[in-house]
């Protein structure tokens, strides 16, 4: 059994702060990346990898590991950053992101990078795979858990709702879905494309145990992720986040979905992070 130490929220926060710097540096070096979504999901990933998930970077295929699926695969830099910080590969390797033949693709590939559970990129793929893994755990009487992170815009893909129905019907109380609710998608606010609301009520109506949480509050996230389960119900956390969180000029702006900062903006962003605790 994998037995990984859970860090207290204050230490998780410290890791997330470092991850933000790495995200900025990685995207700056590569000249490509989905900076807005990377920064909205950072605290969710940090809370998972440094407190909640059971895994062993030395044995990424350990059969008893918890399964984490990053459905919003375009935020690969955030995933690579948390994986490197957790010890799956050296932090220095982040500089190879999207370089020719790098295993750090623009979207994560499980065959290339051990620790990634399934290749993602096209949206709406992660939750069905998570549902399958959770059913598999139940069939084999395994105690490991399945966690899936989706973007909120991604929920416009119908495959999520196919899987949401199955998850409730199969009583998957070993499955947690975390929605990175940053209220924006590539081109606009979700509200101005196809409204998500009432998002929590929709999952509740589908038979999920649903909670709303501040997606940048590590203690709140950890609390919600580790609270005792309601038997027979999959859990959905609507994590309210801010796209581009942590950098003043990127924060909460639609145009920063995948815009790349200039060298000057990189410096400014890093300076902002240096000046915040």
């Amino acid at each position: 059994m994998v037995d990984r130490k859970s860090l207290p929220p204050v230490e998780v926060a410290r890791h997330c702060h470092s991850m933000r710097k790495l995200i900025i540096q990685t995207i700056g070096t590569a000249g490509m990346g989905h900076i807005g979504g990377d920064l909205s999901v950072t605290d969710i990933l940090g809370s998972l990898y440094f407190h909640v998930l059971q895994y062993d970077p030395e044995q990424p295929h350990h059969p008893e590991r918890d399964r984490f699926i990053m459905s919003k695969g375009h935020c690969a830099v955030a995933l690579y950053t948390v994986m490197a910080s957790a010890g799956y590969f050296p932090v220095d390797e982040l500089s190879t992101f999207i370089q020719p033949r790098s295993r750090l693709n623009g979207h994560p590939c499980n065959v290339k990078l051990p620790g990634v559970e399934t290749s993602t990129g096209p949206l709406g793929h992660g939750l069905p795979v998570g549902v399958g893994a959770a059913i598999g755990a139940k069939l084999q009487q395994k105690s490991w858990q399945v966690f899936v992170v989706v973007g909120d815009g991604e929920l416009q893909e119908g495959s999520n709702w196919e899987a949401a129905m199955t998850a409730a019907y199969k009583q998957l109380d070993n499955l947690t879905l975390i929605i990175d609710r940053n209220r924006m998608q590539q081109g606009d606010h979700t509200q101005d494309v196809t409204s998500m609301e009432p998002l929590a009520d929709r999952f509740t109506a589908f038979g999920w145990e649903t909670h709303e949480v501040d997606g940048h509050d590590h203690a709140a996230l950890i609390n919600a992720l580790t609270a005792p389960r309601t038997p027979g119900m999959p859990r959905c956390l609507v994590a309210h986040t801010i796209k581009g969180n942590g950098i003043s000029f990127i924060r909460d702006r639609v145009e920063w979905h995948h815009k790349v900062p200039t060298p000057e903006q990189i410096e400014q962003a890093l300076a902002e992070l240096e000046s915040t605790p």
């Binding site: 065959v111 793929h125 069905p128 598999g136 196919e162 199955t166």
Partner: protein
């Protein structure tokens, strides 16, 4: 078919061999599970469900989730056989097949049931004459079209034992048993069912028995046709196919599929580059009309007489 074969030879629905083999394997290996999209009956999984209700995951009419759930079950350490009508499995969930199965190398066995024009009368929405074209371009996915009940059982045993993802294309049209009981299926092997050096007839699945009958008729006019079952679409049996091209100089492919992108195209891609020869591809050239499966094959030029006529034309 417009011959006496149906009256003389026992015909098998390959789904029966599929289901029986799967149950045998499931009895011995608890990791084997099935996934269905409300297709329990048409996939012949009723008996499986009766024996292991918890090991049949029915996700309902939801093909994208069907394939994704299969990938997740494989991730958990199980060996899922994902069963659905081939038209919906491959068409509706193609991106899941690409990303979740082939690219991710998930150990999932995709079973396309009632492929080709098995649902003849239901019309082109339910025909699956594009599935080989769609799946064949995906790297990392083995593709097999078994020719009869014996080979179906062998293919199912092979894919269960392999740790690679596969697409198995199964028809529901009755076919005679063509392979001997001691036949051993291997991926990348195209069995030669009849020797001959004048022309090669290459079929897959339900068209092979027609090719064999056509070869007998051609023999009456002094033409000795080689007959090959191109069971393994990916990987192809390069040696057998290239030898046929070099030794007979004429290849006639026939398939229950569009002439664009299917088995014939796969053979043509290989032969055109390495052993160019005369070729003709028989198959569907447009959305098929409505009609029974056998009639549709006849109508597309794949009656025994139609195959003979095409062979003569190719040899001219």
């Amino acid at each position: 078919m417009s011959t006496a074969t149906e009256n003389q030879v026992m015909l098998h629905d390959c789904r029966d061999a599929f289901a029986a083999t799967l149950e045998q394997l499931a009895r011995a290996d608890e990791r084997i599970v099935t996934v269905a999209n409300d297709s329990v009956g048409s996939s012949k999984l009723g008996s499986f469900r009766k024996q292991w209700p918890e090991r049949l995951v029915n996700v309902g009419i939801a093909e994208q989730s069907l394939v994704g759930v299969g990938a997740g079950l494989a991730n958990s350490g199980l060996i899922p056989f994902v069963c659905a009508a081939s038209c919906f499995l491959t068409g509706r969930a193609l991106e899941q097949i690409k990303a979740d199965i082939a690219y991710s190398q998930a150990n999932v066995k995709l079973c396309g049931i009632s492929s080709g024009v098995a649902y003849g009368q239901l019309g082109p929405t339910h025909h699956s004459i594009e599935d080989l074209a769609w799946t064949r371009v995906l790297d990392g996915l083995e593709i097999f079209v078994p020719v009869d009940d014996v080979e179906t059982a062998q293919v199912i045993r092979y894919v269960a034992d392999s740790d690679r993802p596969a697409f198995v294309r199964l028809s529901r049209m009755g076919v005679p048993t063509l392979m001997s009981e001691d036949y051993q299926f291997r991926p990348g092997q195209a069995p030669v069912l009849r020797q001959g050096n004048d022309i090669t007839l290459i079929g897959c699945g339900v068209t092979v028995c027609r090719a064999l009958e056509a070869a007998e008729q051609l023999a009456q006019s002094g033409i000795e046709a080689r007959v090959i079952s191109c069971t393994s679409i990916a990987p192809l049996d390069r040696n057998t196919l290239l030898s046929a091209a070099r030794e007979t100089g004429h290849l006639l492919t026939l398939e229950e599929h569009s002439v664009r992108g299917g088995m014939g195209s796969a053979v043509a891609e290989l032969v055109a580059q390495e052993a160019p020869c005369r070729m003709k591809l028989l198959g569907f050239e447009s959305f098929a009309p409505t009609g029974a499966a056998g009639w549709l094959l006849d109508d597309a030029g794949m009656s025994v007489e139609g195959i003979v006529t095409s062979a003569h034309a190719l040899l001219k």
